[in-house]
């Protein structure tokens, strides 16, 4: 390293992102080198190309991309960085695939604290290492103050699924069972508890987690019995099941008593006038499975730490109107409809 470069080292304690960090010059090279490369370090990234090249095993390639604009950026149980890694890994995994590589694009607002950017990059690196899915290429842009909300992250993920395993949202059939991997609403409540205008105290942590190993255990247990897998993120279990009902041309009947909700989450939702079924999750999955495989898959889920509290919450029914119905704890019936409009600020 030349003395000139050393002198220009980033002030990671008090420094802020300015427009020169996105201008393609030396300042940008410093930012990328000292924050992103330092955090994500791996041979492909170190090669310093504008792309990553790699061989893949035979199978079905799975690819996904996702933008993260969560506010606040840091919340109990995670931050925008870990969320971006987990969310993209999960989208790949929901195809039954083994996630292999990630890319990360950053859009940073002028004035953003370098310390926060480093904290986010380190958190992404930790999440990606823990999951065994490296970040092998990326991009950085800086926009003027007011043109973004701190930092936005876009991640792309690539994975490979066994050639004969086809999980798709049009595969649910009447009689199939609906499995849920654990307690719902944790992420949404944890994020909302940090919002300035809500700010309430809670012990609830985001459930943000990479689910690919749980998925691998499920695929190993009953590859033929799995029809659909989906992670109920934004819009919660309600939005996911309504989408699946449309895509598969079926209806659902849920049992309210069977849906796992933590008392703290139920209480926070009660206070805020929300229904946990609509609250976002970042470390849960819904699996639609053939009835004869339901017991096997549920047992496999419960054998994994991220599926310990898995439950059978309902079944797929024949319904031309594609309603998601629920038998309430009361014994009455009701619809679990789509959420209308944007009731809440963005949370993932």
């Amino acid at each position: 390293m030349s003395s000139e470069i050393r002198r220009r080292k980033l002030d990671l304690k008090n420094g802020r992102v300015d427009l020169s960090h996105g201008a393609g010059g030396r300042a940008m090279a410093h930012l990328i080198g000292e924050i992103f490369h330092a955090a994500f370090d791996n041979p492909m990234l170190r090669a310093g190309n504008d792309q990553a090249a790699f061989d893949v095993d035979a199978g079905r390639m799975v690819m996904t991309t996702d933008g993260y604009v969560v506010s606040p950026l840091f919340f109990p149980g995670g931050d925008i960085g870990s969320l971006a890694v987990h969310g993209t890994i999960n989208d790949v995994a929901m195809a039954g695939a083994r996630p292999l590589y990630l890319s990360a694009g950053f859009i940073v607002e002028e004035g953003f604290a370098l310390a926060d950017l480093k904290r986010i990059a380190d958190s992404m690196a930790a999440a990606s290492r823990a999951a065994g899915v490296p970040i092998v290429t990326g991009d950085t842009k800086v926009v003027e103050r007011g043109k973004a909300d701190g930092v936005f992250i876009t991640t792309t993920g690539i994975g490979v699924a066994p050639r004969d395993l086809v999980l798709s949202s049009d595969q649910a059939r009447p009689g199939d069972k609906v499995l849920l991997s654990g307690f719902i609403g944790d992420h949404g409540v944890a994020v909302m508890s940090q919002r300035q205008n809500l700010a309430f105290e809670t012990t609830v942590q985001s459930d943000s987690a990479a689910l690919h190993e749980l998925v691998a255990a499920m695929v190993a247990a009953a590859p033929q019995g799995l029809r659909v897998m989906r992670d109920p993120t934004r819009g919660g279990v309600a939005a996911t099941l309504n989408e699946l009902a449309q895509q598969s041309g079926v209806g659902f009947r849920l049992d309210e008593d069977a849906v796992p909700v933590r008392p703290q989450v139920a209480a926070a939702c009660e206070l805020l006038g929300l229904d946990p079924l609509y609250v976002a999750n970042e470390g849960k999955l819904i699996a639609i499975v053939a009835p004869e495989a339901a017991g096997t898959v549920l047992a496999a889920m419960r054998g994994h730490p991220l599926g310990r509290d898995a439950a059978l919450i309902g079944e797929v029914i024949l319904d031309d109107h594609h309603f998601v119905q629920m038998i309430t704890s009361f014994g009455g019936g009701r619809i679990v409809d789509w959420l209308a409009g944007e009731q809440l600020p963005r949370i993932c």
Binding site: N197, L198, D257, P263, A266, A267, E270, G273, H321, F323, Q325, T328, S329, F330, G331, G332, G333, R334, I335, D337, A340, G341, Q343
Partner: protein, 380 residues
């Protein structure tokens, strides 16, 4: 969840349902109006209709503050929000309520108006304190429940010297609306609903007290049971109403004794009386002008009255002629009787306010109950 789960216990619900089935005389029918949107929501959310015998029918009333706000007041709020110096603070529910010509606060916000969603009056006060260069207006709506917090916010604003804080007051009162339904049940020649009793408001009664409903029992010979918003509260109130009807009694009974006293919250009532006074008349959606049914700020607090500060002109605007919100709010028609229901009017594209708020009869039926219509149709 303590103090909540107890009132949502399915096993207890089935026991009350059995008692209702036993008490309901098969030779007669029972039509009860739940005044409050909170009750409407609970009935739909928990599928209570499935637990009632066919001869016990619930009629949805007008007690949804968003629903009864006339189009003209929405238009006034939109005009106010479009003023460059104004920051309008509103509850989220109001954002999608349709004004005239397809306007809404949501669209005004997209067009550049400074409109902020808040969760309480205190959030609006905090914005006024943080941004002294902005004229911060709180869009105040609601029945007697939300009026005391508005009164306190106004007094706090005065105490803190927040000269840039005002309130666009749309607070309304429950008893005059009930009186309106009982005195003039029909609307434009359409006969009103048959009513055998009222499920009285929960939170409103916590403020004004159960005795506020005594005139309806005495003058109009209507049984009233004040009830909480939990599903078991509603079930128990229905049972109590059936027993009153069977016994030929017309009394105000209080099912919600854990929160409601006969005289209500004396302190809250005093705060409201200090800050607000009755308007001669206020327009309600579905009712037209109702005498002595709305509140405005007293002269002593006129500095905090947005209608005064911005010389807001009263706007009276007609509802969409095809929209049945008016008859639905009065319990004359059901949501499914409206031609627009589920076709042109859905929660995503509301034509009338009853489809917006989760307490609105149309939204509640659309969100929780409409599979029953299809089930009925499929059977037929």
């Amino acid at each position: 969840m303590k103090y909540v789960d107890e009132y949502r216990d399915g096993a207890v619900a089935r026991r009350i349902a059995a008692a209702i089935a036993k008490a309901a005389d098969p030779a007669r029918s029972y039509h009860f109006m739940e005044f409050c949107g909170g009750h409407t929501h609970a009935i739909s959310r928990y599928g209570l209709e499935d637990l009632l015998p066919a001869n016990v029918r619930m009629v949805h009333g007008p007690g949804c503050p968003v629903c009864v706000l006339p189009v003209g007041r929405i238009d006034m709020a939109i005009q106010l929000a479009l003023r460059p110096e104004v920051t309008l603070c509103t509850y989220g529910d109001l954002m999608r309520v349709p004004g005239s010509h397809g306007a809404s606060l949501l669209r005004a916000k997209a067009a550049g108006a400074d409109i902020r969603m808040v969760y309480s009056t205190l959030d609006a006060l905090a914005i006024a304190a943080a941004e002294p260069e902005r004229e911060v207006v709180f869009f105040a709506i609601g029945f007697e429940t939300t009026t005391p917090p508005t009164a306190l916010a106004i007094k706090l604003a005065r105490a803190r010297g927040l000269a840039n804080f005002t309130v666009f007051c749309n607070h309304v009162l429950t008893p005059p609306a009930i009186r309106g339904i009982l005195e003039h049940p029909d609307l434009d020649g359409v006969p009103g609903p048959r009513l055998d009793g009222f499920v009285g408001p929960a939170h409103v009664s916590a403020v004004i007290g159960s005795e506020a409903f005594a005139p309806f029992a005495r003058e109009f010979e209507q049984p009233v049971v004040v009830a909480g918003f939990e599903p078991l509260d509603v079930m128990q109130a229905i049972l109590m109403l059936i027993r009153q009807v069977n016994d030929g009694r017309q009394e105000v009974e209080n099912q919600y004794i854990r929160a409601v006293t006969p005289e209500g919250n004396v302190i809250a009532k005093a705060e409201v009386a200090e800050v607000f006074e009755l308007r001669d008349s206020f327009e309600w959606r579905g009712f037209g002008a109702v005498p002595l049914s709305g509140l405005r700020l007293r002269d002593a607090y006129r500095d905090f009255d947005a209608e005064q500060r911005f010389a807001m002109a009263e706007i009276s605007a007609a509802d969409n002629p095809a929209c049945e919100c008016g008859t639905i709010l009065r319990g004359i028609k059901r949501p499914t009787d409206c031609k627009l229901f589920g076709t042109l009017c859905t929660p995503e594209t509301p034509m009338g306010s009853c489809m917006v708020s989760s307490e609105g009869a149309c939204a509640a039926h659309w969100t929780y109950g409409r599979f029953r219509d299809h089930a009925r149709r499929n059977v037929a």
